[in-house]
């Protein structure tokens, strides 16, 4: 029994390593900058969704305000860089830490809310964050911040000539988020989170401090999302409130996980691999006149998934496995 479990864990790790290896080789074949761009975004959203999944999937606290942490990561990095000359690498870490602290600060009152009330609170808080940044003169207000060009270097994490360094960073970030999830899945925290999601009262009776578990999940989740935000800011080389803290980011973190399978190890990656290229392609085919069509696509997908496969696309795999097990 335990061997089967350990074997499954090992199999997941091997599949991940193989996929990561293949992805790392992809640029050898794919030279087209436009396609590379899509790959980078896909990897980034896979990482973000994986991080979102820790709080909302495993721990069951559905957040539609993670754009706040994404924006905090982006703004911390660029403010430290442009105002104080702090290297983006440190800014990235600082952004992660600040986001984690803010997530816990917000969790303190809001984790008392349940279900829909919690979701509404996360949306409202993220919108307030957006408004604050739109009006904060020192941080560039609605004009945003242009990242000064200092030439291509890993030290300054800035590349104009080639997108490949961003690609590799996004890949590493995606692997990191996946690995953290994999590791947490078979840890005390992972079990506590799933227990809290399924039945907080029973969890409490088994020694789980529900409130602390939620705080832990929020901190890890926000930290990783902020790292993603810092990356995105460097990648765009220009940020303004709407382009790093808009509501669409909260949606784009949630949807891949929902599509692929919420609260599962592979769901976010699978969901992002389908959703992100599809939306990028529809957007480019329809062009400027079609702004919003991608949103229609999301909506249609979510409706289809919730009707046909409420547990997400990964349930296709586990279903066939379960059949094999019971013959």
């Amino acid at each position: 029994m335990d061997q089967a479990f350990a074997a499954r864990r090992r199999r997941d790790l091997i599949i991940a390593a193989v996929l990561a290896g293949l992805a790392a080789l992809a640029p050898l074949v794919i030279k087209d900058v436009y396609v590379q761009n899509i790959l980078i975004l896909t990897l980034m959203y896979a990482a973000l969704s994986q991080s979102w999944n820790i709080l909302s999937g495993y721990c069951g606290q559905i957040s539609l305000g993670h754009a706040l942490y994404f924006g905090i990561g982006a703004y911390t990095t660029e403010l430290l860089f442009t105002k104080f000359g702090v290297l983006p690498w440190f800014g990235m870490l600082a952004g992660g830490v600040i986001a984690a602290i803010i997530a816990m600060g917000l969790g303190y009152p809001f984790f008392r809310l349940r279900g829909h009330y919690f979701v509404i609170a996360t949306i409202v808080i993220a919108e307030i964050g957006l408004l604050l940044f739109q009006n904060w003169e020192w941080a560039g207000a609605a004009m945003g911040i242009t990242v000064p060009v200092r030439g291509d270097s890993w030290l300054k994490f800035q590349f104009m000539r080639s997108k490949l360094p961003y690609f590799y960073f996004a890949l590493v970030l995606c692997c990191l988020a996946w690995f953290v999830t994999w590791w947490l899945e078979d840890s005390k925290w992972g079990f506590w989170w799933r227990a809290v999601k399924d039945n907080p009262e029973a969890a409490e009776s088994l020694g789980v401090v529900v409130f602390n578990s939620k705080m832990g999940a929020a901190a890890v989740s926000a930290f990783l999302v902020a790292i993603g935000g810092a990356f995105y800011a460097q990648f765009l080389a220009y940020i303004d409130p709407e382009s790093v803290m808009g509501f669409q980011f909260s949606l784009l973190m949630a949807l891949p996980a929902v599509l692929g399978g919420i609260g599962t190890l592979w769901g976010p990656v699978l969901g992002a691999a389908i959703l992100i290229p599809m939306t990028e392609l529809t957007r480019s085919y329809i062009g400027g006149s079609g702004r919003g069509v991608d949103l229609i696509v999301y909506g249609a997908l979510i409706v289809a998934i919730s009707l046909a496969l409420p547990r997400g696309l990964v349930s296709l795999f586990s279903r066939s496995k379960a059949k094999g097990a019971t013959r």
Binding site: D2, F191, K197, N199, E201, E204, L206
Partner: protein
Amino acid sequence: MTALLETRGVWQRFGGLVANSDVSISVGRGEIVGLIGPNGAGKSTLFNLIAGVLPPTQGSIWFDGEDVTNLPAAVRCQRGVGRTFQVVKSFETMTVIDNVIVGALVRNTVMREARRKAHEVLEFTGLAARADVLASDLVPAEKRRLEVARALATEPKLLLLDEVLTGLTPTEAQTGVALVRKVRDAGITVLMVEHVMEIVMPLVDRAIVLDLGKVLVEGKPADVVRDPKVIKAYLGDRHAVGA
């Protein structure tokens, strides 16, 4: 030796409703104590007070020589109070073994140890064959058993069983009775709320009867069932006189 559990003058009011009034009971180490009484007697409320779901309006609760009145449920579990729920609260999206691991993590921080402990408990409770089944796929009797298994995995000193034998077929109930005895033989004190008198009376060492939020009678099961006050509480005056 002092009692393992003691409630001292415990009151619980919900608005104008008095669910428990001045309840003082004690449970000794190694006992199986039955908490019985008609519907609405305040049994479940008292259970929740002991488990730490809510603090009593007045009075104190002592466990293992310490005042635990203000400790939350999770901490009481860490101190050694395990419980089941009257309406089963399984972790439905998790497998049976994973449900039990959650409990085992209270005393085992290393995952491998927790998993080993969980398997041990499944063996003990006769659920080993169902380890990899989703909790949502269990039949009701198995779900009740899982509640017990999960609580046992926390290695409690006191196990609170809330109607674990209710709603089972006679055969299932007998297996349940055997399990409760086995639990006691493993050195765990049991306090159980139960409705089914003919099952619970032969099982318990002592019975405490609650009625209208107060302790009505307490004593040996054989004496309790003959007590006119108990018969009156359950069946009304006429029968008490007749007895």
